[in-house]
Amino acid sequence: MIKETPFIQKHLALGAKMAPFAGYTMPISYTGINDEHNAVRSNAGVFDVSHMGEFIIKGNGVLELIQSTTTNDASKLKKGEAQYSCFTNPDGGIIDDLIVYCIEENAVYMMVVNASNIEKDFAWLEQNNTYNTTLQNISEKTCLLAVQGPNATKILQPLTDIDIMNLKYYTFVKGNFAGVDNVLISATGYTGSGGVEIYFEDKENHADKIWDAIFAAGESHGIKPIGLGARDTLRLEMGYCLYGNDIDDTTTPLEAGLGWITKLNKNEDFTAKNILTEQKKEGIKRKLVGFEMIERGIPRSHYNIKDKEGNIIGHVTSGTQAPSLNKAIGLGYVNINHAALDSEIFIDIRNNPVKARVVKFPFR
């Protein structure tokens, strides 16, 4: 059965275009992807991303369990800090990318995972839980609203005593927000435009209360609801990976450019640490790169990437016309000898080689 978030009536009332995503019916767009995208880049927008998964892990062996299943070094986290990380499988592929929140050092943590991977991730944690750590999947009852954009925190500040305007990137605070207690506000997001993500329990009409308070506070500033379509163009302009497109069970974090969250020198062992250490030593054979189209065409997932001679050298994993940049951009894996900046590559668009160039993140 297809699931709904607690905000379904809000989306329908706003006339959102809805579509199934990861088992939920989700808003794809309200007023158009370009319009929503630009609202987030220049002002502020609200995303319902309650489909995302949340696990609470606590008690005995909690840090050991996190350290042995994730690539980043969670022992560095202090209370109120968050960290981007991944779960790796025994081959070094990525089970999921996630954010680890330290609620109480060495005692209570939250993991935020992709909606499509909730069951897989939870099963993986259970399978690796040789420490008798308490695992709770609170995804179903947890609401998540991302309020993103340069004016997001200014708009939200009157709704809380928490100093959200000065909340540092990848830190969070729990407190009262819009009259609701126990709301977790985190300076994180998937847009590159700043703002916060707001987690709270779905009970006693809190979802409506918080949604309404945000839109009341933002009305005079022109705050807008934003769908998953613009979420994708926003993240892609930043070069952020999307699980299932750019990273999956067959791609390693090193190939995906996630070496910065793969701490091969942390003390604890983690799944496939030896394989990744070896891969780093030998050098990766393919790499996820960003590219911009030089000739006209829009790259799409699964298109082949070719060299000048027409040999296949990789494939596109994400692509779009970038609304803020007025050009077409994409991500894709290419053989390492074509991965250097400024390499000329050709995207095979309906059997036509269309010229593109490897560029840096974020796209400009």
Binding site: S29, G32, I33, N34, G297, I298, Q321, R350
Partner: protein, 126 residues
């Protein structure tokens, strides 16, 4: 949903509007543009070609997706709307007017009568 009475339609969401007995404009419907979202360009490289019905005469690229364009009836592509090169968004704002895509000469003028009328198309998307 805007579905003008005087046009004919395909199940692939193209419309055809007869100009005279043998020439017609072709575009995509209001429903199609709304499903695609913001259109960023149209790629039509079949000008001058004579094509069978239901062959791909071009593609339309939206921000999120790409969709093939099918010729509703057999004919020769005589003209590609030159304005779409600079203003593809006209397909979103005026799908039955300024947003027309190609002008064709029908191979058999009577073929248009085999297409869906407004009522049948309305049922399809309704």
């Amino acid at each position: 949903m805007n579905i003008p009475q005087e046009l004919r339609y395909t199940k692939d969401h193209e419309w055809i509007k007869m100009i005279d007995d043998e020439h017609a404009y072709i575009g995509i419907t209001d429903f199609a543009q709304s499903e695609l979202g913001d259109i960023v360009f149209v790629d039509i490289a079949t000008e001058g070609q004579t094509l069978e019905a239901e062959t791909v005469f071009g593609t339309v690229e939206a921000v999120k997706t790409v969709s093939d364009l099918y010729l509703p009836v057999a004919g020769t592509v005589e003209e590609v709307n030159p304005v779409l090169n600079k203003q593809p968004e006209l397909i979103n704002s005026d799908p039955y007017g300024e947003g027309w895509m190609v002008k064709i000469k029908l191979s058999n003028a009577g073929d248009v009568n085999n297409l869906l009328d407004a009522e049948a198309y309305n049922k399809l998307v309704g």
